[in-house]
Protein backbone atom coordinates (compact mmCIF):
# COMPACT_ATOMS: atom_id res chain seq x y z
CA UNK A 1 0.00 0.00 0.00
CA UNK A 2 2.65 2.51 1.09
CA UNK A 3 5.02 1.96 -1.90
CA UNK A 4 2.09 2.40 -4.30
CA UNK A 5 1.04 5.64 -2.62
CA UNK A 6 4.65 6.82 -2.56
CA UNK A 7 5.03 6.19 -6.29
CA UNK A 8 1.73 7.99 -6.93
CA UNK A 9 2.65 11.07 -4.88
CA UNK A 10 6.19 11.06 -6.29
CA UNK A 11 4.97 10.92 -9.88
CA UNK A 12 2.45 13.69 -9.16
CA UNK A 13 5.18 15.79 -7.53
CA UNK A 14 7.56 15.45 -10.50
CA UNK A 15 4.81 16.06 -13.06
CA UNK A 16 3.42 19.14 -11.33
CA UNK A 17 6.91 20.53 -10.65
CA UNK A 18 7.69 20.21 -14.37
CA UNK A 19 4.42 21.91 -15.26
CA UNK A 20 5.30 24.85 -12.98
CA UNK A 21 8.32 25.54 -15.17
CA UNK A 22 6.85 24.60 -18.54
CA UNK A 23 3.43 26.25 -18.45
CA UNK A 24 3.11 29.67 -20.09
CA UNK A 25 0.35 31.12 -17.93
CA UNK A 26 1.69 32.43 -14.57
CA UNK A 27 -1.54 31.70 -12.68
CA UNK A 28 -1.62 28.10 -13.90
CA UNK A 29 2.05 27.71 -12.98
CA UNK A 30 1.30 28.93 -9.46
CA UNK A 31 -1.59 26.47 -9.17
CA UNK A 32 0.65 23.60 -10.25
CA UNK A 33 3.09 24.68 -7.55
CA UNK A 34 0.24 24.38 -5.01
CA UNK A 35 -0.41 20.84 -6.26
CA UNK A 36 3.30 20.09 -5.97
CA UNK A 37 3.29 21.25 -2.34
CA UNK A 38 0.26 19.10 -1.62
CA UNK A 39 1.86 15.98 -3.11
CA UNK A 40 5.03 16.69 -1.13
CA UNK A 41 2.84 16.88 1.98
CA UNK A 42 1.45 13.48 1.01
CA UNK A 43 4.98 12.05 0.92
CA UNK A 44 5.66 13.54 4.37
CA UNK A 45 2.49 11.86 5.67
CA UNK A 46 3.70 8.51 4.30
CA UNK A 47 6.96 9.01 6.24
CA UNK A 48 4.89 9.45 9.46
CA UNK A 49 5.83 13.13 9.60
CA UNK A 50 2.22 14.31 10.02
CA UNK A 51 3.17 17.60 11.63
CA UNK A 52 5.59 18.61 8.87
CA UNK A 53 3.18 17.44 6.19
CA UNK A 54 0.26 19.52 7.44
CA UNK A 55 2.40 22.54 8.26
CA UNK A 56 3.64 22.28 4.67
CA UNK A 57 0.05 22.67 3.48
CA UNK A 58 -0.84 25.42 5.97
CA UNK A 59 2.25 27.55 5.37
CA UNK A 60 3.17 26.96 1.73
CA UNK A 61 -0.06 25.97 -0.01
CA UNK A 62 -2.39 27.95 2.24
CA UNK A 63 -0.51 31.17 2.91
CA UNK A 64 2.55 31.78 0.73
CA UNK A 65 1.01 30.62 -2.54
CA UNK A 66 -2.15 32.63 -1.88
CA UNK A 67 0.03 35.72 -1.55
CA UNK A 68 1.82 34.77 -4.80
CA UNK A 69 -1.52 34.37 -6.57
CA UNK A 70 -2.70 37.64 -5.07
CA UNK A 71 0.31 39.46 -6.55
CA UNK A 72 0.05 37.71 -9.94
CA UNK A 73 -3.65 38.53 -10.19
CA UNK A 74 -3.07 42.07 -9.01
CA UNK A 75 -0.43 42.68 -11.71
CA UNK A 76 -2.62 40.93 -14.32
CA UNK A 77 0.41 39.48 -16.13
CA UNK A 78 0.03 38.64 -19.83
CA UNK A 79 1.43 35.43 -21.30
CA UNK A 80 5.23 35.25 -21.57
CA UNK A 81 6.77 37.18 -24.45
CA UNK A 82 8.78 34.71 -26.48
CA UNK A 83 11.31 36.76 -28.47
CA UNK A 84 14.20 39.20 -28.09
CA UNK A 85 17.84 38.67 -27.20
CA UNK A 86 17.46 38.83 -23.43
CA UNK A 87 15.06 35.87 -23.54
CA UNK A 88 17.68 33.90 -25.50
CA UNK A 89 20.35 34.81 -22.95
CA UNK A 90 18.07 33.82 -20.07
CA UNK A 91 17.32 30.52 -21.78
CA UNK A 92 21.02 29.83 -22.19
CA UNK A 93 21.66 30.55 -18.49
CA UNK A 94 18.71 28.34 -17.57
CA UNK A 95 20.04 25.39 -19.58
CA UNK A 96 23.51 25.83 -18.04
CA UNK A 97 22.21 25.96 -14.49
CA UNK A 98 19.94 23.00 -15.17
CA UNK A 99 22.84 20.93 -16.55
CA UNK A 100 25.00 21.84 -13.54
CA UNK A 101 22.24 20.82 -11.12
CA UNK A 102 21.77 17.53 -12.94
CA UNK A 103 25.51 16.84 -12.77
CA UNK A 104 25.56 17.70 -9.08
CA UNK A 105 22.59 15.45 -8.38
CA UNK A 106 24.11 12.47 -10.22
CA UNK A 107 27.38 12.95 -8.32
CA UNK A 108 25.52 13.01 -5.01
CA UNK A 109 23.50 9.93 -5.88
CA UNK A 110 26.62 8.01 -6.96
CA UNK A 111 28.40 8.83 -3.70
CA UNK A 112 25.37 7.40 -1.88
CA UNK A 113 24.82 10.54 0.22
CA UNK A 114 21.34 11.46 -0.86
CA UNK A 115 19.34 8.37 0.18
CA UNK A 116 20.05 8.83 3.89
CA UNK A 117 20.13 6.08 6.52
CA UNK A 118 18.21 2.91 5.65
CA UNK A 119 16.31 2.64 8.92
CA UNK A 120 16.02 6.10 10.39
CA UNK A 121 14.95 6.11 14.02
CA UNK A 122 11.31 7.14 14.40
CA UNK A 123 11.16 9.72 17.16
CA UNK A 124 8.18 10.01 19.47
CA UNK A 125 5.88 7.72 17.50
CA UNK A 126 3.51 7.10 20.39
CA UNK A 127 2.51 10.74 20.98
CA UNK A 128 2.85 11.83 17.38
CA UNK A 129 5.90 13.75 16.36
CA UNK A 130 4.64 17.27 17.09
CA UNK A 131 5.82 16.92 20.70
CA UNK A 132 9.19 15.51 19.60
CA UNK A 133 9.72 18.38 17.14
CA UNK A 134 8.83 20.94 19.81
CA UNK A 135 11.24 19.41 22.31
CA UNK A 136 14.11 19.36 19.82
CA UNK A 137 13.33 22.87 18.60
CA UNK A 138 13.39 24.39 22.07
CA UNK A 139 16.40 22.51 23.38
CA UNK A 140 18.95 21.36 20.84
CA UNK A 141 18.07 23.81 18.06
CA UNK A 142 17.10 26.77 20.25
CA UNK A 143 19.85 29.06 18.94
CA UNK A 144 19.15 28.55 15.21
CA UNK A 145 15.42 28.88 16.00
CA UNK A 146 15.90 32.25 17.72
CA UNK A 147 18.28 33.48 15.03
CA UNK A 148 15.72 32.59 12.35
CA UNK A 149 13.00 34.48 14.20
CA UNK A 150 15.26 37.55 14.44
CA UNK A 151 15.99 37.25 10.72
CA UNK A 152 12.28 37.14 9.90
CA UNK A 153 11.62 40.12 12.17
CA UNK A 154 14.36 42.12 10.41
CA UNK A 155 12.91 41.18 7.01
CA UNK A 156 9.45 42.28 8.14
CA UNK A 157 10.64 45.61 9.51
CA UNK A 158 12.68 46.12 6.34
CA UNK A 159 9.65 45.51 4.14
CA UNK A 160 7.57 47.98 6.15
CA UNK A 161 10.30 50.65 6.01
CA UNK A 162 10.74 50.20 2.25
CA UNK A 163 7.04 50.44 1.44
CA UNK A 164 6.49 53.52 3.60
CA UNK A 165 6.52 56.61 1.38
CA UNK A 166 9.65 58.71 1.87
CA UNK A 167 9.10 62.28 2.89
CA UNK A 168 11.59 65.09 2.25
CA UNK A 169 13.53 66.10 5.35
CA UNK A 170 11.76 68.59 7.58
CA UNK A 171 8.27 67.82 6.30
CA UNK A 172 5.65 67.32 9.00
CA UNK A 173 3.96 63.96 9.41
CA UNK A 174 0.37 64.12 8.24
Amino acid sequence: MVPVLFLGFGALLVATALMVVLHRNPVTSALFLVLAFCSLAGIYLLLHAEFIGLVQIIVYAGAIMVLFLFVIMYLNLPHDVEHGTHIAVRRGIGWMVGALMLLFATLLMRRGWAPGPENAAMIGQEHGNAAAIGRELYSRFLFPFEVTSMLLLVAMVGAIVMTKARRPAGEERP
Binding site: V27, E50, I58, A61, G62, M73, G128
Partner: protein
Protein backbone atom coordinates in the same frame (compact mmCIF):
# COMPACT_ATOMS: atom_id res chain seq x y z
CA UNK B 1 -13.97 -12.27 1.57
CA UNK B 2 -13.27 -13.87 4.95
CA UNK B 3 -9.54 -13.18 4.48
CA UNK B 4 -10.33 -9.57 3.70
CA UNK B 5 -12.53 -9.18 6.78
CA UNK B 6 -9.64 -10.44 8.93
CA UNK B 7 -7.32 -7.80 7.49
CA UNK B 8 -7.22 -4.91 10.00
CA UNK B 9 -6.34 -2.22 7.48
CA UNK B 10 -9.19 -3.28 5.21
CA UNK B 11 -11.76 -3.29 8.03
CA UNK B 12 -10.68 0.16 9.24
CA UNK B 13 -10.82 1.53 5.70
CA UNK B 14 -14.24 -0.05 5.10
CA UNK B 15 -15.67 1.46 8.29
CA UNK B 16 -14.19 4.83 7.40
CA UNK B 17 -15.81 4.72 3.96
CA UNK B 18 -19.18 3.75 5.43
CA UNK B 19 -19.00 6.59 7.96
CA UNK B 20 -17.92 9.08 5.29
CA UNK B 21 -20.85 8.05 3.09
CA UNK B 22 -23.29 8.47 5.99
CA UNK B 23 -21.83 11.86 6.95
CA UNK B 24 -21.94 13.11 3.36
CA UNK B 25 -25.54 12.01 2.85
CA UNK B 26 -26.73 13.47 6.15
CA UNK B 27 -24.85 16.71 5.57
CA UNK B 28 -26.47 17.36 2.20
CA UNK B 29 -29.88 17.04 3.87
CA UNK B 30 -28.76 19.20 6.80
CA UNK B 31 -27.53 21.95 4.47
CA UNK B 32 -30.83 21.92 2.57
CA UNK B 33 -32.76 22.56 5.76
CA UNK B 34 -30.12 24.92 7.14
CA UNK B 35 -30.82 27.18 4.16
CA UNK B 36 -34.55 26.83 4.88
CA UNK B 37 -33.91 27.67 8.55
CA UNK B 38 -31.86 30.68 7.56
CA UNK B 39 -34.64 32.03 5.35
CA UNK B 40 -37.28 31.36 8.00
CA UNK B 41 -35.27 32.93 10.84
CA UNK B 42 -34.33 35.89 8.68
CA UNK B 43 -37.99 36.31 7.75
CA UNK B 44 -39.15 36.38 11.35
CA UNK B 45 -36.34 38.78 12.31
CA UNK B 46 -37.59 41.15 9.64
CA UNK B 47 -41.24 40.72 10.73
CA UNK B 48 -42.06 38.58 7.69
CA UNK B 49 -43.14 34.93 7.55
CA UNK B 50 -40.41 33.56 5.30
CA UNK B 51 -41.06 30.80 2.74
CA UNK B 52 -44.38 29.07 3.50
CA UNK B 53 -45.98 28.29 0.12
CA UNK B 54 -44.34 25.05 -1.08
CA UNK B 55 -45.34 21.97 0.90
CA UNK B 56 -46.41 21.99 4.55
CA UNK B 57 -44.91 25.07 6.32
CA UNK B 58 -42.86 25.67 3.16
CA UNK B 59 -40.71 22.62 3.96
CA UNK B 60 -40.29 21.68 0.30
CA UNK B 61 -38.98 25.13 -0.68
CA UNK B 62 -35.23 24.41 -0.64
CA UNK B 63 -35.34 20.87 -2.17
CA UNK B 64 -37.28 22.35 -5.06
CA UNK B 65 -34.87 25.28 -5.25
CA UNK B 66 -32.03 22.80 -5.63
CA UNK B 67 -33.98 21.04 -8.39
CA UNK B 68 -34.51 24.37 -10.12
CA UNK B 69 -30.77 25.18 -9.88
CA UNK B 70 -29.91 21.79 -11.41
CA UNK B 71 -32.09 22.46 -14.45
CA UNK B 72 -31.04 26.06 -14.97
CA UNK B 73 -28.94 27.04 -17.96
CA UNK B 74 -25.26 27.19 -17.25
CA UNK B 75 -23.45 30.28 -18.48
CA UNK B 76 -19.71 30.45 -19.02
CA UNK B 77 -18.17 33.78 -20.09
CA UNK B 78 -16.38 33.60 -23.46
CA UNK B 79 -13.11 35.03 -22.15
CA UNK B 80 -13.10 33.00 -18.93
CA UNK B 81 -10.33 30.54 -18.13
CA UNK B 82 -12.53 27.47 -18.67
CA UNK B 83 -10.59 24.88 -16.65
CA UNK B 84 -10.12 27.02 -13.56
CA UNK B 85 -13.71 28.26 -13.88
CA UNK B 86 -14.82 24.64 -13.49
CA UNK B 87 -12.36 23.74 -10.73
CA UNK B 88 -13.17 26.68 -8.41
CA UNK B 89 -16.66 25.49 -7.29
CA UNK B 90 -15.29 22.02 -6.52
CA UNK B 91 -12.57 23.60 -4.37
CA UNK B 92 -15.28 25.40 -2.41
CA UNK B 93 -16.80 22.12 -1.21
CA UNK B 94 -13.85 19.74 -1.00
CA UNK B 95 -11.79 21.18 1.91
CA UNK B 96 -14.87 21.50 4.11
CA UNK B 97 -15.83 17.86 3.58
CA UNK B 98 -12.30 16.64 4.35
CA UNK B 99 -12.38 18.32 7.75
CA UNK B 100 -15.41 16.25 8.80
CA UNK B 101 -13.18 13.18 8.83
CA UNK B 102 -11.39 14.36 11.99
CA UNK B 103 -14.27 15.92 13.97
CA UNK B 104 -15.37 13.78 16.94
CA UNK B 105 -19.17 13.95 16.75
CA UNK B 106 -19.69 11.54 19.64
CA UNK B 107 -17.70 9.22 21.87
CA UNK B 108 -14.95 7.37 19.96
CA UNK B 109 -14.61 4.96 18.26
CA UNK B 110 -18.22 4.87 17.05
CA UNK B 111 -18.77 8.52 16.10
CA UNK B 112 -15.26 9.45 14.95
CA UNK B 113 -14.12 8.68 11.41
CA UNK B 114 -10.39 8.92 12.13
CA UNK B 115 -8.45 10.10 15.16
CA UNK B 116 -5.42 11.78 13.59
CA UNK B 117 -2.83 12.92 16.10
CA UNK B 118 -2.68 16.31 14.35
CA UNK B 119 -6.44 16.73 13.86
CA UNK B 120 -6.48 20.43 14.63
CA UNK B 121 -3.83 21.02 11.98
CA UNK B 122 -5.99 19.15 9.45
CA UNK B 123 -8.73 21.67 10.16
CA UNK B 124 -6.35 24.65 9.86
CA UNK B 125 -4.83 23.26 6.64
CA UNK B 126 -8.21 22.70 5.02
CA UNK B 127 -9.54 26.10 6.04
CA UNK B 128 -6.42 27.69 4.55
CA UNK B 129 -7.04 25.81 1.29
CA UNK B 130 -10.59 27.17 1.22
CA UNK B 131 -9.25 30.53 0.04
CA UNK B 132 -8.49 29.15 -3.40
CA UNK B 133 -12.13 28.62 -4.33
CA UNK B 134 -13.05 32.27 -3.99
CA UNK B 135 -9.79 33.66 -5.34
CA UNK B 136 -9.78 31.43 -8.43
CA UNK B 137 -13.50 31.92 -9.07
CA UNK B 138 -12.92 35.65 -9.03
CA UNK B 139 -9.90 35.52 -11.30
CA UNK B 140 -11.11 32.97 -13.87
CA UNK B 141 -14.43 34.77 -14.50
CA UNK B 142 -12.59 37.59 -16.31
CA UNK B 143 -14.87 40.16 -14.74
CA UNK B 144 -13.63 43.14 -12.77
CA UNK B 145 -16.20 42.83 -9.99
CA UNK B 146 -15.44 39.14 -9.63
CA UNK B 147 -11.71 39.86 -9.57
CA UNK B 148 -12.16 42.48 -6.86
CA UNK B 149 -14.18 39.99 -4.82
CA UNK B 150 -11.48 37.34 -5.30
CA UNK B 151 -8.70 39.71 -4.25
CA UNK B 152 -10.67 40.78 -1.20
CA UNK B 153 -11.32 37.21 -0.17
CA UNK B 154 -7.65 36.21 -0.41
CA UNK B 155 -6.50 39.21 1.62
CA UNK B 156 -9.29 38.78 4.20
CA UNK B 157 -8.86 35.07 4.73
CA UNK B 158 -5.07 35.25 5.04
CA UNK B 159 -5.36 38.04 7.61
CA UNK B 160 -7.94 36.30 9.76
CA UNK B 161 -6.32 32.87 9.48
CA UNK B 162 -3.33 34.12 11.49
CA UNK B 163 -5.46 35.25 14.41
CA UNK B 164 -7.52 32.06 14.19
CA UNK B 165 -4.45 29.82 14.25
CA UNK B 166 -2.98 31.73 17.20
CA UNK B 167 -6.24 31.58 19.18
CA UNK B 168 -6.16 27.77 19.05
CA UNK B 169 -2.77 27.67 20.80
CA UNK B 170 -4.10 28.23 24.38
CA UNK B 171 -6.45 25.26 23.85
CA UNK B 172 -3.53 23.10 22.68
CA UNK B 173 -1.47 24.26 25.68
CA UNK B 174 -4.26 23.23 28.04
CA UNK B 175 -4.97 19.82 26.54
CA UNK B 176 -1.37 19.05 25.56
CA UNK B 177 -2.40 17.40 22.30
CA UNK B 178 -3.28 18.33 18.72
CA UNK B 179 -5.74 15.46 18.35
CA UNK B 180 -9.36 16.62 18.42
CA UNK B 181 -10.40 13.47 20.32
CA UNK B 182 -7.72 14.29 22.90
CA UNK B 183 -8.92 17.89 23.16
CA UNK B 184 -12.48 16.70 23.84
CA UNK B 185 -11.21 14.19 26.43
CA UNK B 186 -9.37 16.95 28.27
CA UNK B 187 -12.73 18.71 28.84
CA UNK B 188 -14.45 15.78 30.56
CA UNK B 189 -15.96 16.08 34.03
CA UNK B 190 -16.69 19.10 36.19
CA UNK B 191 -14.75 21.39 38.51
CA UNK B 192 -15.80 23.63 41.40
CA UNK B 193 -15.53 27.38 41.09
CA UNK B 194 -12.68 28.25 43.51
CA UNK B 195 -14.06 29.29 46.89
CA UNK B 196 -17.59 28.05 46.23
CA UNK B 197 -19.46 24.75 45.89
CA UNK B 198 -20.92 25.46 42.46
CA UNK B 199 -19.78 22.86 39.90
CA UNK B 200 -19.04 23.94 36.36
CA UNK B 201 -18.44 21.65 33.38
CA UNK B 202 -14.74 21.51 32.66
CA UNK B 203 -15.30 22.88 29.14
CA UNK B 204 -12.71 25.15 27.59
CA UNK B 205 -14.79 28.29 27.69
CA UNK B 206 -15.37 27.95 31.45
CA UNK B 207 -11.66 28.51 32.10
CA UNK B 208 -10.90 32.21 32.36
CA UNK B 209 -7.79 32.09 30.17
CA UNK B 210 -9.76 30.54 27.30
CA UNK B 211 -12.55 33.14 27.16
CA UNK B 212 -10.58 35.67 25.11
CA UNK B 213 -9.28 33.01 22.67
CA UNK B 214 -12.87 31.90 22.18
CA UNK B 215 -13.94 35.46 21.37
CA UNK B 216 -11.10 35.86 18.87
CA UNK B 217 -11.86 32.48 17.28
CA UNK B 218 -15.56 33.33 17.02
CA UNK B 219 -14.90 36.60 15.19
CA UNK B 220 -12.36 34.92 12.91
CA UNK B 221 -14.82 32.15 12.13
CA UNK B 222 -17.28 34.67 10.69
CA UNK B 223 -14.50 36.04 8.49
CA UNK B 224 -13.36 32.55 7.42
CA UNK B 225 -16.84 31.52 6.33
CA UNK B 226 -17.35 34.83 4.46
CA UNK B 227 -20.59 35.55 6.24
CA UNK B 228 -21.93 38.89 7.35
CA UNK B 229 -20.58 41.13 8.84
CA UNK B 230 -17.48 39.95 6.93
CA UNK B 231 -19.03 39.08 3.55
CA UNK B 232 -16.86 41.57 1.68
CA UNK B 233 -15.94 39.12 -1.16
CA UNK B 234 -19.57 39.07 -2.32
CA UNK B 235 -20.68 42.51 -1.11
CA UNK B 236 -23.71 42.85 -3.37
CA UNK B 237 -24.06 46.57 -2.69
CA UNK B 238 -20.70 47.42 -4.26
CA UNK B 239 -19.50 44.42 -6.31
CA UNK B 240 -22.72 43.14 -8.00
CA UNK B 241 -22.25 39.67 -6.48
CA UNK B 242 -18.50 39.63 -5.95
CA UNK B 243 -16.58 36.49 -6.79
CA UNK B 244 -19.62 34.54 -8.08
CA UNK B 245 -20.97 37.24 -10.40
CA UNK B 246 -20.45 35.08 -13.51
CA UNK B 247 -21.56 31.80 -11.98
CA UNK B 248 -24.98 30.32 -12.55
CA UNK B 249 -26.87 27.08 -12.11
CA UNK B 250 -25.36 24.30 -9.96
CA UNK B 251 -21.85 25.84 -10.02
CA UNK B 252 -23.26 28.84 -8.20
CA UNK B 253 -25.00 26.54 -5.75
CA UNK B 254 -21.71 24.75 -5.05
CA UNK B 255 -20.31 27.95 -3.53
CA UNK B 256 -23.25 28.11 -1.17
CA UNK B 257 -22.95 24.42 -0.38
CA UNK B 258 -19.32 25.16 0.51
CA UNK B 259 -20.28 28.14 2.65
CA UNK B 260 -22.80 26.14 4.68
CA UNK B 261 -20.41 23.17 4.98
CA UNK B 262 -17.76 25.56 6.24
CA UNK B 263 -20.21 27.00 8.72
CA UNK B 264 -21.01 23.52 10.10
CA UNK B 265 -17.30 22.63 10.23
CA UNK B 266 -16.24 25.76 12.04
CA UNK B 267 -19.11 25.47 14.55
CA UNK B 268 -18.13 21.85 15.21
CA UNK B 269 -14.52 22.90 15.78
CA UNK B 270 -15.63 25.64 18.19
CA UNK B 271 -17.71 23.11 20.12
CA UNK B 272 -14.80 20.67 20.12
CA UNK B 273 -12.29 23.20 21.39
CA UNK B 274 -14.32 25.37 23.73
CA UNK B 275 -17.64 23.66 24.54
CA UNK B 276 -16.64 20.16 25.52
CA UNK B 277 -17.46 18.43 22.23
CA UNK B 278 -19.94 15.64 22.87
CA UNK B 279 -19.70 15.89 26.68
CA UNK B 280 -22.91 16.57 28.55
CA UNK B 281 -24.85 15.44 31.63
CA UNK B 282 -26.65 12.08 32.11
CA UNK B 283 -24.42 10.16 29.71
CA UNK B 284 -23.20 7.68 32.35
CA UNK B 285 -26.77 6.89 33.43
CA UNK B 286 -27.79 5.47 30.07
CA UNK B 287 -25.22 2.69 29.80
CA UNK B 288 -22.81 1.71 27.04
CA UNK B 289 -25.33 1.66 24.19
CA UNK B 290 -27.51 4.72 24.68
CA UNK B 291 -24.85 6.82 26.44
CA UNK B 292 -22.80 7.39 23.26
CA UNK B 293 -26.01 8.13 21.37
CA UNK B 294 -26.84 10.79 23.95
CA UNK B 295 -23.30 12.13 23.40
CA UNK B 296 -24.06 12.49 19.70
CA UNK B 297 -27.30 14.21 20.73
CA UNK B 298 -25.45 16.74 22.94
CA UNK B 299 -23.07 17.45 20.07
CA UNK B 300 -25.94 18.04 17.64
CA UNK B 301 -27.76 20.25 20.16
CA UNK B 302 -24.68 22.44 20.65
CA UNK B 303 -24.17 22.50 16.88
CA UNK B 304 -27.73 23.70 16.26
CA UNK B 305 -27.33 26.42 18.89
CA UNK B 306 -24.16 27.65 17.19
CA UNK B 307 -25.69 27.52 13.72
CA UNK B 308 -28.63 29.57 14.98
CA UNK B 309 -26.14 32.05 16.42
CA UNK B 310 -24.40 32.35 13.03
CA UNK B 311 -27.70 33.06 11.28
CA UNK B 312 -28.70 35.50 14.02
CA UNK B 313 -25.44 37.45 13.62
CA UNK B 314 -25.77 37.53 9.84
CA UNK B 315 -29.15 39.22 9.94
CA UNK B 316 -28.23 41.57 12.77
CA UNK B 317 -24.94 43.26 11.92
CA UNK B 318 -24.24 45.56 8.95
CA UNK B 319 -21.28 44.83 6.67
CA UNK B 320 -17.91 46.29 7.62
CA UNK B 321 -16.00 48.67 5.39
CA UNK B 322 -12.92 47.09 3.82
CA UNK B 323 -10.33 49.18 5.68
CA UNK B 324 -12.19 48.58 8.96
CA UNK B 325 -12.05 44.86 8.29
CA UNK B 326 -8.30 44.87 7.67
CA UNK B 327 -7.58 47.23 10.54
CA UNK B 328 -9.63 45.12 12.95
CA UNK B 329 -7.93 41.90 11.86
CA UNK B 330 -4.37 43.13 12.09
CA UNK B 331 -4.51 45.74 14.84
CA UNK B 332 -7.01 44.22 17.27
CA UNK B 333 -7.45 40.48 16.75
CA UNK B 334 -3.83 39.53 16.02
CA UNK B 335 -2.34 41.33 19.08
CA UNK B 336 -5.19 39.98 21.21
CA UNK B 337 -4.45 36.44 20.00
CA UNK B 338 -0.72 36.82 20.73
CA UNK B 339 -1.53 38.20 24.18
CA UNK B 340 -3.75 35.15 24.78
CA UNK B 341 -0.87 32.82 24.01
CA UNK B 342 1.41 34.61 26.49
CA UNK B 343 -1.23 34.76 29.25
CA UNK B 344 -2.29 31.13 28.87
CA UNK B 345 1.30 29.88 28.71
CA UNK B 346 2.32 31.91 31.78
CA UNK B 347 -0.75 30.80 33.78
CA UNK B 348 -0.40 27.12 32.89
CA UNK B 349 3.33 27.21 33.71
CA UNK B 350 2.71 28.97 37.02
CA UNK B 351 -0.05 26.52 37.97
CA UNK B 352 2.08 23.49 37.08
CA UNK B 353 5.11 24.81 39.01
Amino acid sequence: MAALMNNDVFVVALWAIVKVAIILGVLLGVVTYLIFAERKICGHMQARTGPNRVGPFGLLQTPLDVLKLLFKEEFIPAEANKIIFHIAPMLAVFPAIVTFSVIPMGPPPMFVVTDVNVGLLVFLAMSSLGVYALTLAGWSSNNKYALLGGLRSSAQMISYELAMGLSTIPVILRSGTLSLVGIVDSQAGTYLIPGTHIPLPSWGVFHWYLVLPFAVFLVCSFAETNRAPFDLPEAEGELVAGFHTEYSSMKWAMFFLGEYFNMIVICSIMITMFFGGWHGPFMELLGPVFGPLLGLGWFLLKLSAFLFFFIWVRWTFPRLRYDQLMGFGWKVLLPAAILNVVIAAAWLYWRAA
